[in-house]
C-alpha cells in the first residue's frame, strides 16, 4: 500500500484543526521525541536519510549537525514557507491542510537543535495559508504545545509567523534571513554559513515546510522505516507538484523512487486531448528540461542528478507537443530577470540581457550568434555568484537551447 505520510489527512474535513490532527495520531511523535536527548533526534534524522525538500536536497540531519557544539546564546529555527519555485505548490497544501504537522515537526526540530524561538517565513501572496497557519499556531499555544514547558518537558518554544512581501529570492535561505531581519532579500556571503551565524547573528537552521513535516513521522515510526521508503541516499516520500499539460494536475505524495513516466502517465493521468509529450521540467523551473524520451528516471535527488537535471522542489511541468520551447524560454528568462535581486553583477546584468535576446528571438528578430551568446554567457556566469539563483537560471537557459536548438534556429531569420 502506498504510504502517505504528509498528505494522508488531506481528504479529511477540518484536516487543518488540532482536533483532527490529534485524532489521527498527531503530536505522538513529540512525546517520543521529548523522551530522547536532543542529540539522539539529530542522529535519528541523519539515519532516516531525510533530505531538504525545498530545492537543494541537502541531508537535513547533517545540516543540523553544523550548529557549533556547546554554543552559548540563542539558536533559531526558521521554516522556509516562501514557496516560489515555478511549478511548485506542495507547501501551500501542507500549510492549508495540515499545519499542525508542521508545528509538531518544528517543536521536535527546535528541541533537537536547541532553539527556543522559531520563525515561519510565509510568502506574502499566501494569505489563506497564512490565516490557517496562524489559527493553528494559536490552537497549539492554547493546548500547551507551544510556549513554556511544553507537555511538562521543560522545553520552551515560541513561534513567530513572518510574512514575506513578494520576492522569489527570499526562498534562498540567506535571502530569507535578510528579509526576516527587515532588509531587502539579498542573500548573504558564505562563510559564515547560517548554522554558524545566521538570523540576527545567531546559529540558524533554515528548513523547508515539507522537510519539517516529515520529522514527526520519523519520530513516530523510526528512522529505518523512513529510510526504507526511499532510495539508498534519500529516505521517505515527497510531494510532487504536477502541472501543465496533464489530465489531473495536483500534488502527489510518492516514494522518491517513482519514475517520471509513472508520475505523469499513471498518477497525473497522462496528457489531455490525445497530445504527445514534448518535454518535462522535473524539479521546478530551475531544473534542466528533459525531452520526451528522457522520462524513465527515478525522481530522487541522485536519480535526476544523474539524468543531468535536478529534483529541486519536485515541481513537474509537463509540455505537450504544441509548446514553443523558445517561447517557454522567454517566459522563464523573464522570470529570472524579474527576480534577480541585483546584488551580484553576473546575475544582475545577464538575466536581463538573456531575456532580451530570448524575446528578440521569439519576435523573429534573432541573430544567428544569439544562441551561442546565451549559452556562453550562461556558462561563464554559472558558479560566479553569491547564491544559487543564477545557477538555477542557467539550468533552463542551457538545456532549452541545447535540447531544442532546431526550434530556436527556425525562428532566426537567415541572413
Amino acid at each position: 500500500m502506498r504510504e502517505r505520510l504528509l498528505t494522508g489527512n488531506f481528504h479529511l474535513p477540518q484536516s487543518h484543526t488540532l482536533r483532527v490532527y490529534r485524532e489521527t495520531g498527531g503530536y505522538a511523535g513529540l512525546e517520543k521525541a521529548f523522551a530522547l536527548p536532543p542529540a539522539a533526534i539529530t542522529e535519528e534524522v541523519k539515519k532516516s536519510n531525510l533530505r531538504g525538500l525545498g530545492g537543494a536536497g541537502f541531508p537535513t540531519g547533517i545540516k543540523w549537525g553544523f550548529i557549533p557544539k556547546g554554543h552559548q546564546g540563542p539558536i533559531y529555527l526558521v521554516i522556509n514557507a516562501d514557496e516560489g519555485e515555478p511549478g511548485t505548490f506542495k507547501d501551500r497544501y501542507l500549510l492549508e491542510k495540515d499545519p499542525h504537522s508542521l508545528i509538531e515537526g518544528m517543536i521536535i526540530s527546535a528541541y533537537a537543535i536547541g532553539a527556543h524561538v522559531a520563525f515561519i517565513y510565509v510568502r506574502g501572496e499566501y494569505v489563506r495559508p497564512w490565516r490557517i497557519l496562524r489559527q493553528a499556531v494559536e490552537e497549539a499555544y492554547a493546548a500547551g504545545f507551544l510556549g513554556r514547558n511544553i507537555l511538562g518537558s521543560g522545553f520552551d518554544l515560541d513561534v513567530v509567523i513572518h510574512r514575506g512581501a513578494g520576492a522569489y529570492i527570499c526562498g534562498e535561505e540567506t535571502g530569507l534571513i535578510s528579509s526576516l531581519e527587515g532588509k531587502k532579500g539579498w542573500p548573504k556571503l558564505k562563510p559564515p554559513f547560517p548554522a554558524v551565524r545566521g538570523a540576527f547573528g545567531a546559529p540558524t537552521i533554515v528548513n523547508n515546510v515539507e522537510t519539517i513535516c516529515h520529522v514527526p513521522h520519523i519520530m513516530r515510526r523510526g528512522a529505518e522505516w523512513f529510510a526504507g521508503l526511499g532510495t539508498n541516499t534519500q529516505g521517505g516520500t515527497r510531494m510532487y507538484s504536477v502541472s501543465g499539460h496533464v489530465v489531473r494536475p495536483g500534488v502527489y505524495e510518492l516514494p522518491v523512487s517513482v519514475t517520471l513516466r509513472t508520475l505523469i502517465y499513471e498518477h497525473a493521468g497522462g496528457l489531455p486531448n490525445g497530445r504527445g509529450l514534448k518535454a518535462v521540467v522535473p524539479g521546478g523551473s530551475s531544473a534542466a528540461i528533459l525531452r520526451a524520451g528522457e522520462i524513465d528516471v527515478t525522481m530522487d535527488v541522485d536519480g535526476l542528478k544523474n539524468a543531468g537535471t535536478m529534483a529541486g522542489s519536485a515541481g513537474v511541468i509537463v509540455m505537450d507537443d504544441t509548446v514553443s520551447i523558445p517561447e517557454a524560454l522567454m517566459v522563464v528568462a523573464r522570470f529570472y530577470a524579474h527576480e534577480s535581486c541585483g546584488q551580484c553583477t553576473p546575475c544582475r546584468e545577464s538575466t536581463g540581457w538573456i531575456f532580451k535576446m530570448a524575446k528578440r528571438i521569439v519576435e523573429g528578430k534573432g541573430r544567428k550568434e544569439d544562441l551561442d551568446t546565451i549559452l556562453d554567457v550562461a556558462r561563464r556566469g554559472a558558479g560566479t555568484t553569491i547564491c544559487a539563483f543564477y545557477d538555477g537560471a542557467v539550468g533552463p537557459y542551457i538545456s532549452y537551447i541545447e535540447k531544442f536548438r532546431e526550434e530556436f534556429e527556425a525562428l532566426i531569420p537567415r541572413a
Binding site: 511549478g87 513572518h162 513578494g166 522569489y168 531587502k184 499539460h245 517566459v331
Partner: protein, 163 residues
C-alpha cells in the same frame, strides 16, 4: 493610518501599540519592518514617501534604507491602487495553459493595460510571476483569493463580484 494634511502620515495609538508589539517579537526590532510596512499599507492602501519616512523614524532607520525595502518587494504599492487588485500569473505553467488569453480578456473587460487601474478605481490589473498554484493554471490572485483555472466565463463571473 490617517492622512492628516498633505505629506504627513501617522498611525493611531492602537496601531502604534501594534508596531511596538511587532518590534518586540524579534531579537532586533528592525525585523518588524516588513510587518509594519504591511500594516501601514493595509491602513493606507499604499506606501507613500511620507509613510516611508514616518516608518523610518519608528525604526530609527534612515529613510533610504526603508526605501530600499519598499522598492525591492513587489507587494508594496508605492501609488494608490484600485479597490481590488488582480494579479494574473504569467509564469510557465500558466503561460502554457493560456495566461496571455486570460490577460487579454481582462484587459478588454476592464479597459486598462497591465499595470493600470480602472478609471472608477475599482480594479488594478497586474501580471506577476509564479504564485505557486500551477494546478489551477491559468490562475490569478484577486485580493486575498486565488482563482483558477481561468476561462473567459470564470473571469467574467469573478469580475461581477468585485464592487
Amino acid at each position: 493610518m490617517s492622512v492628516a494634511g498633505a505629506g504627513t502620515a501617522e498611525l493611531t495609538p492602537e496601531q502604534l501599540a501594534e508596531v511596538r508589539r511587532l518590534q518586540g517579537l524579534y531579537p532586533d526590532k528592525r525585523a518588524a519592518l516588513l510587518p509594519v510596512l504591511q500594516l501601514a499599507q493595509d491602513a493606507c492602501g499604499y506606501i507613500s514617501l511620507e509613510t516611508e519616512a514616518y516608518v523610518a523614524r519608528l525604526f530609527d532607520l534612515s529613510p533610504a534604507h526603508v526605501h530600499e525595502v519598499v522598492t525591492f518587494y513587489t507587494l508594496f504599492f508605492r501609488e494608490p491602487k484600485g479597490r481590488h487588485v488582480i494579479s494574473v500569473c504569467h509564469n510557465l505553467t500558466c503561460h502554457l495553459l493560456g495566461a496571455e488569453d486570460a490577460i487579454a480578456h481582462l484587459k478588454a473587460r476592464l479597459g486598462v493595460e497591465v499595470g493600470g487601474t480602472t478609471k472608477d478605481g475599482r480594479v488594478t490589473l497586474l501580471s506577476v510571476e509564479c504564485l505557486c498554484a500551477c494546478e489551477m493554471a491559468p490562475m490569478m490572485q484577486v485580493d486575498d483569493r486565488y482563482e483558477g483555472p481561468l476561462t473567459p466565463e470564470t473571469i467574467d463571473r469573478i469580475l461581477e463580484g468585485l464592487q
